[in-house]
């Protein structure tokens, strides 16, 4: 059963094609991640799905409902956590939830009961009477997710759920999202953190400049684009220029990151390095970051061509 379907979706701002023909499907109960740098088009996709931004071209469906034609029905099935949290600073924690529940169509009593449930789930019960301004960043994010759950949505959209949080709060948010997933909720999230995508997502779309460069489970993507292992080269004795020449000559996929050359393999195999005299070479497990660097590098070259 398909929860979300995007068909050739385009978003145009003036002369910018922020989303440039994106297609993907998310199955019910799945956690799907849009991974990419700022400006890749992740937020635009989510805003279009939530009806916050007009779709320039293409179609988006949620549980079979066309977002363009039935936006109201779509939003009744959707919980949305925007990057800004959008909490109401003039109301306290509990009122934020209850007023939103009432806006969704719950009765005041139902809203009160549901607010207690989500406060319990996010362990915010003792902060129910607190002002929003008194909450830590992690609590604010969890309250925003709690608010998105008020209507018991089929699908939750999360725009960068852990951006700006300290490590402990991040893990807590992750645990709670994993628990939602276990409860059968479909999650569509964006992130620019590789570890977050790897930890939470069943499948990932790697995005760059408004396009999906590739899609798959994290292990699939790693194996396809970064091989089984990656090599980090520290120039030490030899010159950077010489290493660059040799890597180019061997047609290897690499990026210069700080003092390092990061070389990724492909198709399940590690890179075959030429003999780099004087340089220090270390092998490590390939990860999504290597995939991203490999794909984004290629994407950039295509753009320039």
């Amino acid at each position: 059963m398909t929860a979300i379907e995007a068909r050739n979706v385009v978003k145009i701002f003036g002369s910018l094609r922020a989303v440039d023909g994106v297609s993907f499907t998310v199955a019910r109960g799945e956690t799907y991640g849009l991974l990419g740098p700022n400006g890749a088009g992740k937020t635009s996709i989510m805003r279009m799905l939530a009806g916050l931004s007009p779709i320039s071209a293409g179609e988006m469906l949620l549980s079979g409902l066309n977002v363009r034609e039935e936006s109201r029905a779509v939003r009744a099935r959707l919980g949305v956590v925007t990057q800004s949290d959008g909490l109401d600073g003039e109301l306290n924690v509990r009122q934020n939830l209850e007023v939103f529940g009432f806006l969704l169509g719950l009765s005041r009593r139902q809203a009160r009961v549901r607010a207690d449930e989500v406060l319990g789930f996010f362990r915010l019960g003792d902060r129910a009477r607190a002002e929003v301004d008194e909450l830590s960043g992690g609590m604010r994010r969890r309250l925003a997710i709690a608010r998105a759950l008020m209507g018991e949505p089929e699908v939750i959209i999360l725009d960068e759920p852990s951006t700006g949080l300290d490590p402990e709060s991040r893990i807590r948010v992750w645990e709670e999202l994993a628990e939602l997933k276990r409860a059968g909720v479909t999650l569509l999230m964006s992130t620019h953190y590789m570890d977050e995508a790897e930890t939470l997502c069943d499948r990932i779309a790697i995005m760059h400049s408004g396009r999906i460069l590739d899609e798959g489970t994290p292990p699939e993507l790693v194996s396809r684009h970064a091989g089984s292992a990656a090599m980090d080269i520290r120039p030490d004795g030899s010159s950077r220029e010489a290493i660059r020449r040799q890597l180019d000559a061997a047609s290897l996929n690499y990026r210069e990151v700080g003092a390092l050359f990061r070389v990724s393999g492909a198709n399940g195999a590690p890179p075959l390095l030429p003999d780099l005299e004087g340089a220090q070479v270390s092998e490590r497990a390939a990860n999504l970051e290597d995939v991203f660097l490999a794909l984004a590098g290629r994407g950039l070259q295509e753009e320039q061509a």
């Binding site: 939530a50 936006s71 939003r75 600073g89 109301l91 009432f102 806006l103």
Partner: protein
């Protein structure tokens, strides 16, 4: 851009729960700061009313056809104060709510822009009504307005809320910054407060300025309020009421269009 036309089919129906819930949120937010709100609604207008009626009123003496100056000026001050409430709510407060992503969050629920605009106007009317009861109550206590005029004044204040709430929303939707937004007071609220027949009859203005003063959106409301207070309503008040309805009918779709442009990108 063509993209603005392809969003939610919003023309279909108004979901009253959206309007009700947003209005309730505003009432709740206001009630949480009631101590401060009390000063806006009671102390500020009381100071103005006392200063004008007892201070300037001593210099002016009788107004032909109105009795004392206080009786002439009180209905206008009731309306002018209500105007400030409506315009402040829908410009300043709305602008702040845009900045704090309040509407963005509301729009993630099954809510549409026309419903947001209606809720804002309804709350502007609410604030105008609270202000009217407070200020008119004061004037009634001093015998400047008869108690029987209160329902009529409240009815006029519904028009104050829709017209000046609507004007406030236009500024909130268009203003690029808080500084720009303050123009709504410099260019609209303050000039209207003084040139809409509140403090002196429009007939004393130079001939060339009189049509301008009559066209100003606050003037018909002040005229209606004065008619309600004196109990003498004539044909001119019919025209005034029509003008208020016309302004509301023009401002509402304009506010919806501009708010959509501001909130849907």
């Amino acid at each position: 851009m063509t993209t603005a036309t392809v969003l939610v089919p919003e023309t279909g129906f108004i979901r009253w729960r959206s309007v009700h819930a947003i209005w309730w949120r505003h009432v709740l937010a206001l009630s949480r700061v009631w101590q401060v709100a009390l000063t806006w609604f009671v102390i500020e207008p009381a100071v103005v009313l006392l200063a004008v009626a007892l201070g300037i009123g001593q210099l002016v003496g009788e107004m032909a056809g109105f009795g004392s100056y206080a009786m002439f000026v009180a209905p206008g001050i009731v309306i002018g104060t209500a105007m400030f409430h409506a315009i402040f709510e829908c410009s300043w407060s709305t602008f702040e709510r845009i900045g704090q992503s309040y509407y963005e969050t509301a729009l993630t629920a099954p809510v549409t822009i026309p419903e947001i605009v209606l809720a804002e106007l309804l709350f502007a009317v609410t604030r105008a009504l609270i202000s009217t009861v407070a200020v008119a109550g004061f004037a009634i206590a001093f015998g400047w307005i008869p108690l029987s005029a209160l329902p009529g004044l409240m009815l006029v204040c519904v028009g104050v809320g829709t017209v000046f709430g609507g004007i406030g929303l236009l500024f909130a939707a268009l203003a690029p910054s808080m500084h720009a937004l303050s123009l709504v007071f410099t260019l609209v609220a303050t000039p209207l407060y003084f040139f809409s027949g509140t403090f002196f009859p429009i007939s004393v203005l130079p001939d060339w300025l009189q049509p301008v003063a009559w066209a100003a959106p606050l003037t018909p409301l002040v005229e209606l309020a004065r008619g309600m207070a004196s109990g003498e309503l004539g044909r001119v008040h019919g025209y005034c009421a029509l003008y208020v309805l016309l302004l509301t009918a023009l401002l509402y779709p304009l506010a919806v269009t501009l708010m959509r442009r501001r909130l849907m990108k």
